[in-house]
Symmetry: C2
Subunit: 406 residues, 2 copies
Amino acid sequence: MARIVMKFGGTSVADMDRIRNVANKVKREVDDGNQVAVVVSAMAGVTNQLVAWVSEASTLYDAREYDSVVATGEQVTSGLLALTLQNMGVGARSWLGWQVPVRTSAAHGSARIQEIETDELIRRLDSDEVVVIAGFQGIAADGRIATLGRGGSDTTAVAFAAALQADRCDIYTDVDGVYTTDPRIVAKARKLDKITYEEMLEMASLGAKVLQTRSVELAMRFKVPVQVRSSFTDEPGTMVVDEEQIVEQADISGIAYTSDEAKITVQGVADRPGVSAGIFGPLAEANINVDMIVQNVSADGTKTDLTFTVPHADLARSVKVLSELKEHLGYADVTTDPDVVKVSVIGVGMRSHAGIASRMFAALANEGINIQVISTSEIKISVLIASRYTELALRALHSAYQLDTP
Amino acid sequence: MARIVMKFGGTSVADMDRIRNVANKVKREVDDGNQVAVVVSAMAGVTNQLVAWVSEASTLYDAREYDSVVATGEQVTSGLLALTLQNMGVGARSWLGWQVPVRTSAAHGSARIQEIETDELIRRLDSDEVVVIAGFQGIAADGRIATLGRGGSDTTAVAFAAALQADRCDIYTDVDGVYTTDPRIVAKARKLDKITYEEMLEMASLGAKVLQTRSVELAMRFKVPVQVRSSFTDEPGTMVVDEEQIVEQADISGIAYTSDEAKITVQGVADRPGVSAGIFGPLAEANINVDMIVQNVSADGTKTDLTFTVPHADLARSVKVLSELKEHLGYADVTTDPDVVKVSVIGVGMRSHAGIASRMFAALANEGINIQVISTSEIKISVLIASRYTELALRALHSAYQLDTP
C-alpha cells in the first residue's frame, strides 16, 4: 500500500467525459490498495473566462475579490469529481482550501502555502476515503480565499504530497512527460525517464511549461518524488528525482527556449564606475526584472554599450524609464529588439564535463547563428539569438549533444 | 438615511453590462446617503449548467457536493459586483455564506437559515462600505456549504433585511412588480401598488413566480417591507406590506393559476369510514403531496368517487401506489387527467365581503366552464378546470372582479 497524490490539470477535467476518465484512474489506484489524495484544476478555459470578467469589472482589481471569483473553477471540479467517484462506489469528498484549511500568506493572487492541516485528511485516507482537493487555493489570515497564481494547482499537489508524506506525486497533464526539447519543433525530441529537480527547475523557468516553477522548488526542498505523465494514456511518464537517483547522467538533459524576453541596448554610455548601477537601479525600482546582461567596450575605450533583456511586457515601460535617465547618464541612444529568443542547454552533467559551452557555440556557429548575449549558471548555458533561428538552433543543439538517440 | 437590502436575480446579473447596471443602481442609493447590503443570484443559466453537471456526475447525488458546486454561481457574481462598485469609487466587499457566516440547518440542498452574524457587517455598513452578499448559501454545522433551494436568494435577502433591521428590502427582478394576474395572458392585467404578505404568500404558492414562498413567509414573520421592482426601469414596483398599511382593500387583489397539478379519480370506492385514510395514508408515506380533494356520493349511496390532485411529477408514482392498494380497497377503477389547471382568486378583502365565491362560479358558468374541484381558505378560492379554458377563465374572472380598471 502506498499513499499517493494525483494532480489533474485543466485539459484533464475539461468536461464530464474527462472527469469520468480521471475518476477511472483514481479508482484503479484505490483498487490497487492505495490511499489517494487528488488535486484538481478548473476545467480548461474556465479560469481564463473568470479572469476576463474580473479584468472587465475593474482594471486595477482588488486581488481578494479576484481570488474569490477565480477559485470557483476548482471548487466546481472538486465537487464533480467527488460525485463521480461516489457514483462508481468509491468513497470520496471534496475539500476547498478554506475547509482543509490550507493556510497561505497574505499575498492575494500569488499567495504562498504556509501550512496545511492534515489530521482530518489522514483520518479520511486511513478510512479509505478519497480526498479530492480543490487546487490553486487556500485561506489567508484575513479569512478570505487566497489563490497561488497561475499553475498553482501543481504547487498545491506537491505541498499536499509533502504534508501527507506521500510516497509519490503524479502530475497528470496533456503531455506524456518531460522531453529533451519541444517535440513540436524537434521531431527527434525524446521523453526523459528521469530528470533531476535542479534540471526541472531550470527547464520550468526557461520556458518548458510542464510544471509551475514553484512546485518544483517545493518538491526539491521536501524531496517529493514527482512524476509528470499523461492523463490520456497509461504509459509511465518522467520522474523528477534527486540527483543521486540518476546513475548514468548525460552531459545535457534538455534544451529549453523562451521568447518572453526583449533586448535593449543603451549605446555610448560613459565607461566609468557606477554607470551600471545608474541604469539597473531605476529599472529595479520600477519592478522590471533584468535578466541577461552584456557590456561591450566601444572602439575608443571611453564609451561602452550595455545590452540586456527584460520581459516583453515591460519593454515599453523600460524604454520610458531609460529616456527619463538620458540627461543624467548622457548616453547616445537606446535601441530595442523584441524579436529575440533565449535558448538554454541544461544538465547537471555539465558540472563534471568540460567543453559543454564550446560545443554549444560551435554548433550555432556552424549554422551561421550569431550569439548576442550569453549567461550561464552551474547547470545551464543560455544564449540570446534572433528569434527566426529558433527551430534551427534547437535542432542543431539537439544533435550536437547527441540527444537525438537514446 | 436608510439601511436597505437590494436583491438582484439571475437575469439582472446575466453579464458584465448588466452587472454594471446593477452597480449604478447601488451607487445611486449610496449617493443618496443610504447604507446598502446587496444580495446577488448567479448569472442567468449558470445554476442550471452546474445542476446539469451534478446530475450527470451522479444520479443519486450527495447534496453536500451539490451545494459546493452550485454555490459557486453566486460566489462569482458577488466578487464581480464588488469589483465593479470599487471601480466606480464605491467601497465594497463580497461576503460568502461561510464568511458572514450564515448558519443553516443540516438539510443540504434545501437548508433553512438559522442565524446570521451581523456585527462585522454592521461595522462595515456604518463605515460606508457596501456589503455584497452571495445569495442562496450558508454554512451548516458540518462546516460545509449549504444552499437554500432554488430561488433561495430571495430568502437570503429577506433574512438579511430582518437581521440587519433594514428599512426596506428591494427585490429587483425581470418584471416590474406583482400583477393582478399574468399579463402575458390577460392584457388588462395591472401592476399592484401594494399587496399584503398573506396575499403574496398565496400568489407565490399558487403559481405567481415573482418571489420564493419561503421569502414571503420570512418577510411576514419579521414584518420586513419588501418591494418587488424591475432592474431595467426606475419605476416603483409593488410593496408587500402588512394588512393595516392598505387602506382601501379591494375584494380580490389577484388571480393566480398553476398547471403543476394533475387530477386523479378513484371510482367506486366503498362509502364507509376509513376509506380516505386508506388512500391518502399510503400516498403521504410515499411523500406525495395531495392538494385539492372532493368526494362524490354515487347513485346508490354505497359507493363513492374520490377525486384529488397531485403534483404532475408524482402522477405516475401515485397511480402505482393506488394500483398496489386495489385489492385491499376494492375500488372499481382509477382515471387520471393531466390537462387541468388550478385557478385561484386571492384577496384579504374576501374575509369581510360576502358573495366572492358565487361571483366566481357565475363568471365561469357564463363562459361554459365546468368546475371540477373547489378548495378554499380564508383569503383564497381555488377551482380546478380543464386547462384549455385557462385564458378564458383568467380574463372572465379579471373582469368579474373589476380588476380591469384601477
